[in-house]
């Protein structure tokens, strides 16, 4: 069974239709890149999959392991294994990162009927993962994302991805605001999480990120739908020719 099936998805924000009949199938173990110009609806797609309020689905379906994702609350989706790495992770003052990680992890485990992590196990796990992502311990004591640099925020997202072990990771513009070194650390973190059970959807404007996270499939979005699908070479092709051809075509 496919992990994620998006079928003919139509989405409105206020009075404007953003996605007009988008389809996408993602199987376990696959890495899909979604590329496209600004305003093509890439981020909308990621938000709708995660269940962000403010979007109206006017047609189509999203199935996750055959279950209707649109019927689930955002936290149910998270517990089922849908993880969105935000383009702009928010700051939550006063809530220590460590506390947040544990609360979220245990909430998900509880929702799945699993036992909560014991404190030593949890601490051990966080320490391991944060070390591999080059996240200093004192960062975990600070408020969630408060005063973090762009790179630190993105690494914090990947830290959560590693801890929560989702089956579907959606990375929304993970490269925005990162310099080349920060990008490499983040991409290494993501690559370490690739596995036959886990699928990834990498949303990006630039081909650059795909040098580090090499996709199995590349989809080009323009004006609210997928206009072309191909292998990783499609990304290189786009680097040369740009998005203009698709914008006219769409």
């Amino acid at each position: 069974m496919a992990l994620l099936e998006v079928k003919d998805l139509q989405v409105r924000v206020e009075d404007r239709e953003i996605l007009h009949g988008l389809s996408l199938t993602v199987n376990p173990g696959e890495v899909h890149a979604i590329m496209g110009p600004n305003g093509s609806g890439k981020s909308t797609l990621s938000h709708v999959i995660a269940g962000k309020p403010g979007y109206e689905v006017t047609g189509g379906q999203i199935l996750f392991r055959g279950e209707d994702l649109l019927e689930m609350a955002p936290d149910e989706r998270a517990a089922k294994g849908v993880f969105l790495a935000f383009q702009y992770p928010v700051e939550i003052p006063g809530v220590a990162t460590m506390n947040f990680l544990r609360t979220a992890l245990n909430a998900q485990r509880k929702a799945r009927g699993e036992s909560e992590y014991s404190t030593p196990d949890f601490l051990k796990k966080v320490r391991e993962v944060s070390k591999s992502l080059n996240i200093p311990q004192d960062m975990l004591k600070r408020g969630v994302n408060v005063g973090f640099s762009g790179g630190e925020k993105k690494r914090n997202e990947i830290l959560q991805m590693a801890l929560f072990e989702p089956s579907l990771c959606i990375l929304d513009e993970m490269d925005s605001g990162l310099d080349i070194d920060a990008l490499r650390i983040a991409a290494d973190g993501v690559n370490a999480l690739r596995s036959p059970e886990r699928a990834m959807v990498v949303i990006t404007h630039y081909q650059r990120l795909l040098n580090y996270i090499v996709p199995d499939f590349v989809h080009v979005m323009a004006k609210g739908s997928v206009v072309k699908t191909g292998g990783k070479e499609l990304a290189l092709e786009l680097e040369g020719s740009g998005y203009a051809q698709f914008e006219h075509a769409a």
Partner: protein
């Protein structure tokens, strides 16, 4: 928008009916007849076997009270209280004279157990989780004075405190056993004529706690009083007096609960603190009186006068309060900074939900030289509640070098509640430096979605954000209380918070 709407709906549905301390204890009690008169004042004084001077003090207050009118300036609305329709004295009926805690009515002991307050002298902290980043819990002990309706039923750890020279006992006993201290300090911070409710209290107070810490002594444990209103139609008027003599330190905690009842009950307490040279008093309150039901019926009127005086040089008084209960709260724990270089602090979390009304804040009155004060207030309004911060900071002509920093933040959950900020900032000399800032906002939808995407329910997400919002104040509480307060905050916003 959807997510937030959902939260709002949940908050709307919140039943303050989920109050967990709403049970009633069925015990026999002894009450004075309803209503207030000189005879009732005499009755109370006689019950307590008070000396003549104490009765005179009360009668003077009573006569003064007759000439006063109820204050109306606070932003609270309630039907007129019929002061003749209240009981001013209720006490659990003793079966015989008690010689040890084992002889207390087991129903009362059970009540305090249900409330999580051990009256038996055991270490109470096993299994309490330290807050993130907190020190691992050592086995700390707390001495408890339990006040049931109007009388103190038990005070623990008396012996050990005595060894350190600390006096911690019901004020009714202190009046008999330490009249010189009580006479010297009672009413010296909150005069009998201070305000309508304080004057009423002065006339009819039946019990409360008394603390005296001798010079140079650091009180070996936290002192704590738990107040419980049980009887119907009973006003509770406790009186607390804490004196920290030169160079001493004491940390005092206070908790309050009451059963669920349809009618309103009046609680008009007075707390007086005196800190002499180099002394420090830390006073923490977790107030969780019954707030009334989801329709706004019932609940406690919490009309309390709390004031501390930094009488000596370099003294310090710090108030921390977590206010989640009561139908109406009218309360301004204040500091009179009389000693040079003295310091006052006020840290407050006030949460209102349902139909609760809160008008609370502080007064920092700078009189001495180089005095400083700090006010951190966090107000959270949900449901149909009204939440007001009212605070005064004033520096008199001679209070040169006075400094104050105030930050008041309010959070609104839902569009049927109100948050109000009313600061009075008065500088009467040029060397006073005052800074005040306030904000009002709601929980950002982006933050909520972020948390929910990570698997937290709406309620958990709101709880998490609210706890982050109030963190600065929670940190001021002794650790045991901080854990309790954190839970209480979640319960108060229950329906939206896990």
């Amino acid at each position: 928008m959807v997510a937030v709407q959902e939260t709002v709906d949940r908050v709307r549905r919140i039943d303050v009916d989920q109050y967990r301390y709403g049970f009633e204890t069925l015990i026999e009690s002894e009450k004075a007849p309803k209503g207030l008169s000189e005879d009732i004042v005499r009755f109370i004084s006689e019950k307590k076997s008070e000396p003549a001077w104490m009765l005179e003090w009360r009668l003077e207050a009573y006569r003064r009270w007759l000439t006063m009118t109820e204050p109306t300036w606070a932003r609270v609305n309630y039907p007129k209280i019929d002061y003749q329709d209240l009981y001013y004295y209720a006490a659990p009926k003793p079966k015989k004279t008690l010689s040890s805690i084992d002889e207390i009515d087991p129903e009362i002991l059970k009540t305090y157990e249900k409330l999580g307050i051990p009256l038996r002298e055991v270490a109470i902290l096993e299994g309490v989780e330290p807050p993130p980043g907190g020190e691992p819990s050592e086995q700390r002990r707390i001495a408890v004075d339990a006040v049931f309706d109007s009388v103190s039923v038990a005070t623990t750890f008396q012996k050990e405190l005595k060894k350190a020279g600390v006096i911690f006992m019901p004020i009714s006993e202190a009046i008999r056993e330490h009249p010189e201290l009580v006479r010297k300090y009672l009413g010296s911070v909150v005069p009998t004529s201070d305000n309508f409710f304080a004057t009423l209290n002065s006339a009819v107070f039946s019990d409360g706690s008394f603390v005296y810490v001798p010079p140079g002594v650091r009180c070996p444990m936290e002192l704590s009083t738990y107040f419980r209103i049980n009887e119907r139609n009973t006003g509770q008027f406790e009186r607390t007096l804490i004196i920290a003599d030169k160079g001493s330190y004491v940390s005092y905690l206070e908790g309050c609960t009451a059963p669920q009842r349809d009618e309103n009950q009046l609680h008009a307490a007075v707390v007086e603190l005196v800190a002499l040279d180099d002394a420090e008093i830390k006073y923490s309150t977790v107030q969780n009186w019954y707030p009334g039901n989801s329709e706004g019926k019932g609940g406690i009127y919490n009309f309390v006068t709390k004031r501390g005086e930094c009488r000596g040089a370099n003294s310090k008084i710090s108030w921390t309060q977590v206010e989640t209960g009561s139908a109406i709260t009218w309360k301004y724990p204040s500091c009179i900074l009389r000693g040079d270089h003295s310091r006052g602090e006020f840290y407050s979390i006030a949460i209102s939900n349902g139909y609760q009304q809160v008008d609370s804040g502080t007064k920092m009155i700078h009189l001495g030289k180089n005095t400083s004060s700090r006010i951190i207030s966090k107000g959270i309004a949900a449901g149909k509640s009204q939440n007001t911060y009212r605070g005064l900071v004033t520096a008199h002509r001679k209070a040169t070098g006075a400094r104050n920093y105030t930050a008041c933040d309010s959070l609104l959950i839902g569009d049927k509640c109100g948050a109000h900020t009313v600061p009075y900032v008065e500088a009467k000399n040029s060397s006073a430096t005052f800074e005040h800032e306030a904000t009002t906002s709601k929980i950002s939808e982006d933050v909520l979605f972020y948390c929910v995407q990570r698997g937290l329910s709406q309620e958990e997400a709101v709880g998490l954000v609210v706890n982050g919002f109030v963190k600065d104040v929670l940190q001021q509480l002794p650790m045991e209380f901080a854990v309790e307060a954190q839970k209480l905050i979640s319960i108060s916003l229950e329906g939206s918070v896990g």
